[in-house]
């Protein structure tokens, strides 16, 4: 069995502090937000974009002739870009948590069936008009509820008399994810309205095309709260990542922590899927990349990963708008196109321990 030379693997790795990286990514995220607003099919000059942003932020005024361009910048591009950052951050945070929870670096909300579960709820609202009584909250509430239900189902099915093992969770999640996708597909094809069916397909692949300011607060608050909670539990996640018995011996009851993680994962995933559809690869890739930079300690991974996810998704969305402009690609296609080769490259480089030694 080939054993990687340890000194070259770890000695050069920076494990001291994530602070410079966090600061750098925060600056990069701000710059990316501005770029995300500045780049688009409608050619609006950078000077104007900045002027509109400034006017919007400070409550200033714009000339009547600029009203159309201002609306594009402030009412269409900005909420979309901000929402992209929120969704990217949420997916990266939840992906990190799920990987620690099932102790497998190849897991994310998709593998556990949470995203496809949430998509069922979202499509029930779009295509069947379910939960109409909840008004504008119907979509988020339904996606969240079905994400929770999917998690609970995966949890219940994966349970055995000997407890809950990560492998059973992953296998159950994968199997049920196919089932949820089938349900969504049936709903799409059963729907009479052709437009709705196309929109639902867009949801399955992920898109930020429908972003409005109204969607931002709930998503931002949920993602921020989920991130904060995970940061508080970062050390416990380290213990859980070492094994259930190790966690128990360190005073972290693994069953209780896992149930908490289920709830947080469902809440963040449901909220995120409700506004962006099922965007893949961000939750899987970003934690990997971040671990290569800062090591496995969740205190550092959780400080860095959401910022990295936010930057990644803002740029993926920019590409989705520009590549075939004026037509738009689903953003999930971009993340997959970026994610698959990056993933294969990482595996081939072998500079990262995947655990199956």
């Amino acid at each position: 069995m080939p054993v990687p030379p340890p000194s070259t693997l770890s000695a050069g790795r920076r494990r001291r502090s994530a602070a410079p990286l966090v600061l750098g990514l925060a600056v990069l995220l701000l710059a990316s937000l501005v770029c995300g607003v500045g780049l688009g099919a409608a050619g609006i000059g950078w000077a104007e974009v900045l002027r509109f942003l400034w006017a919007g932020l400070t409550g200033g005024t714009v000339r009547a002739g600029d009203a159309a361009a201002y609306t594009i910048v402030w009412e269409i591009r900005l909420p979309r870009t901000v929402l992209g950052a929120v969704v990217g951050a949420g997916l990266a945070a939840v992906g990190t948590a799920v990987q620690a929870m099932v102790r497998n670096a190849l897991a994310d909300p998709f593998v556990l069936g949470v995203s496809s579960g949430a998509a069922v709820g979202a499509n029930a609202v779009i295509l069947l008009g379910a939960f109409a009584g909840l008004g504008v909250w119907a979509l988020s509430a339904s996606a969240f509820a079905s994400a929770l239900a999917a998690m609970a189902l995966v949890y219940a099915v994966a349970r055995s008399p000997h407890g809950l093992t990560p492998l059973r969770l992953i296998l159950t999640g994968t199997a049920l994810a196919f089932g949820f996708e089938a349900v969504t597909t049936v709903m799409v094809f059963g729907a009479a309205r052709g437009e709705a069916a196309r929109a639902a397909m867009m949801w399955l692949l992920g898109s930020l095309g429908g972003a409005t300011w109204a969607q931002v607060p709930l998503a931002a608050v949920t993602v921020a709260a989920g991130w904060a909670w995970l940061r508080v539990r970062a050390e416990a996640l380290n213990a859980l990542a070492m094994g259930d018995e190790t966690a128990a011996a360190l005073g972290v009851p693994p069953g209780r922590l896992r149930r908490e993680l289920f709830a947080v994962t469902a809440a963040v995933t449901g909220t995120v899927v409700a506004v962006s559809g099922a965007i893949g690869f961000v939750g899987l890739m970003v934690p990997h990349l971040v671990r290569m930079l800062v090591g496995a300690d969740h205190r550092r991974v959780l400080a860095v990963a959401p910022l990295a996810g936010a930057v990644l998704l803002v740029w993926a969305d920019v590409l989705s708008r520009l590549l075939l402009a004026p037509a738009e690609l689903p953003v999930g296609v971009i993340t997959a196109v970026l994610g698959v080769p990056a993933f294969l490259l990482l595996m081939r480089r072998g500079g990262y321990a995947f655990g199956s030694r």
Partner: protein, 255 residues
């Protein structure tokens, strides 16, 4: 600190894994738990470090039921080396050792660093601090896990086959390390000679029940070893230390 296991019974999927186990580890002593594979050693130890809740009975630390304590409070006095070694993520040695500080409250980063450095010095893994845990040899890993347990500053240490997969030098090394580090120890051991040499008291478990207990030379009799382990044992004196050591044969086929 004294560890008492009182009439502990564990059930899983309708089967009784261990039944009415009564076992005492006096303050500062090193108690060994020996028994054939599947006899319930690990199950019993899991009850002590709270990975399992017994169906009946109690595990007490100086009289307090560990399952009634807050999880972190229990982990501040009792540390464990579980047998599992599923390290999916490439933590560094320093990070693994630092996990031992998790149960402690109102700690400072400086204090944690000092305690971890001391634990790593004592187990001789200080030079590995920046290395990846997954890339270590079996012996190095076990020393690192002992360091993590010591960083927990426990008063009771529970070890589940700590010498598994180690070569003979590392086996002796890990046990003397634990012995020298002070706390009360309860260890499941599969090597009877190691158990005889290192333990003050041995408990023999078979089929989920304690079948014998006492000082090693009283317990490890040829009759008991034949009955419990199915081997013929020949006790001999160690020419250097005088300790009782055992040589083994298969039992002659019974007519």
């Amino acid at each position: 600190m004294r560890l008492d296991i009182e009439d502990v019974t564990v059930e899983a999927a309708g089967a009784r894994l261990v039944e009415d186990i009564r076992l005492t580890v006096d303050d500062g002593s090193f108690v060994g738990l020996v028994g054939p594979n599947g006899s319930g050693k690990s199950t019993l130890l899991r009850c002590a470090y709270r990975a399992l809740r017994p169906a009946a009975g109690a595990v007490r630390l100086d009289g307090d039921d560990v399952h009634a304590l807050a999880p972190r409070a229990a982990a501040r006095v009792l540390a464990a080396l579980p047998q599992e070694s599923s390290a999916e993520f490439d933590f560094t040695v320093a990070e693994v050792v630092a996990m031992g500080r998790l149960p402690h409250r109102e700690r400072t980063a400086a204090e944690d660093r000092a305690i971890c450095a001391q634990a790593m010095d004592r187990t001789g893994v200080g030079h590995l601090a920046g290395r990846g845990f997954l890339a270590l040899s079996g012996g190095e890993r076990q020393r690192v896990l002992v360091a993590r347990a010591l960083a927990q500053r426990p008063r009771v240490l529970v070890l589940d086959e700590p010498t598994n997969h180690l070569d003979i030098a590392h086996q002796l090394d890990v046990l003397s390390l634990v012995r020298a580090s002070g706390p009360t120890v309860l260890a499941a051991l599969h090597d009877l000679n190691l158990a005889a040499a290192h333990c003050d008291v041995l408990y023999v478990i078979a089929g989920g029940r304690i079948v014998a207990s006492g000082p090693p030379h009283d317990v490890l009799t040829p009759d008991l070893l034949a009955e419990v382990f199915g081997v013929r044992a020949h006790p001999v004196r160690h020419p250097g230390t005088g300790a009782v050591q055992l040589l083994f044969d298969l039992l002659p086929p019974t007519a």
